[in-house]
């Protein structure tokens, strides 16, 4: 069945104050053993959600507005980064008709 917004959804815009409820941010996991702290992921991130601390990359603690674009996973020379959570809007901006994430597929 196609998805639509309910009237209740349409009345409410997601609040940055309700992260985790209205708005679930993306998340990446960094294999610390493989990370060399080169910082290329920090430059690639469109949301300034990554930083290098103690020669290891990590997500910022304050407001990492990650929208799971995957730029960091693609640029990492050590392949140390994977997306572990995709961004989700729960109200007005809810993404519709999405399925499981996958790589480019061959048919």
């Amino acid at each position: 069945m196609p998805e639509f917004l309910t009237w209740k959804d349409r009345r409410k815009v997601e609040s940055f104050r309700r992260i985790g409820e209205d708005l679930i941010l993306g998340q990446v996991t960094i294999e610390l053993d493989q990370c060399t702290g080169c910082g290329s992921c920090v430059n690639a991130c469109p949301a300034a959600s990554l930083e290098v601390k103690d020669k290891k990359a990590k997500m910022t603690e304050v407001f990492p507005m990650c929208f799971s674009c995957g730029n960091c996973t693609a640029i990492c020379p050590e392949n140390a980064i994977t997306i572990t959570r995709f961004i989700e809007f729960k109200r007005f901006y809810r993404y519709l008709d999405r399925g499981e994430p996958q790589r480019p597929r061959k048919f």
Binding site: S40, A47, G70, R98, P101
Partner: protein, 248 residues
Amino acid sequence: MAELAIETEELEKPKIRPPEPGADFNLVEDVIYRRRSNRSYLKKQVPEYLLRRILEAGRFAPSAGNAQPWKFIVVQDQKMIAEMTQDVVKVCQMGKRFLDYLEPGKAALEGLTKVVQRLRKNEMHPIPLGAMFLIAEGKLGVWHGAPTVIPILVDRRAPGKPFVDVGIAGQNMVLTAHSLGLGTCWVSFIQPLEYFPKWRKKLGLRYPYKLVTSIALGYPKGNPDGYVNRETQAIDWFGEDGTFKVVY
């Protein structure tokens, strides 16, 4: 059974033979799947012949009624890019001042911000809104040090949906650039420059032209291109035999 659109004879001697099921990606597909937005560039300037090659790909994009409703501008003047960046940052700072309800003591702004979001639901979507705050704070660049910026204008009098045509032309250029080993990033944060009479004059933003977006272009630092995971999307499929299915 419906009549075949092509004669059988033509099917036997095609110019390009479609691949068998499960075959590898061809070169075009591979460029499409590997293209990632690039946000750090080498200082080295893109030579004119490569840039001309890229712009040429834009020229041959499909458009409604072959109206070609775009105008490309090439900016390689580093001083000008710096000035444009400064002015975009200024607008973002102003926006942040009025809209950032996360700042201490500004919680009361939340209602206003949400009204603005509903009125300008695309520009003020939480993602660009967040980016606006980051640019204002200097945490996120605008053109990320790209040596070349290509602002794109649309001719608003064109038939059909000129904004779509402009997007198609832009993507032609972006894919060509990536196939040549260059990096690009779509930057629509150029739009606030419309508010400055100085830029209206310099970029020729007079009717019928409107500034839509821009492309940052340069040699990438490292290897930003590669495959990523991405959500699949529901595709409604009305089959030949009257069946209906949803594929992902």
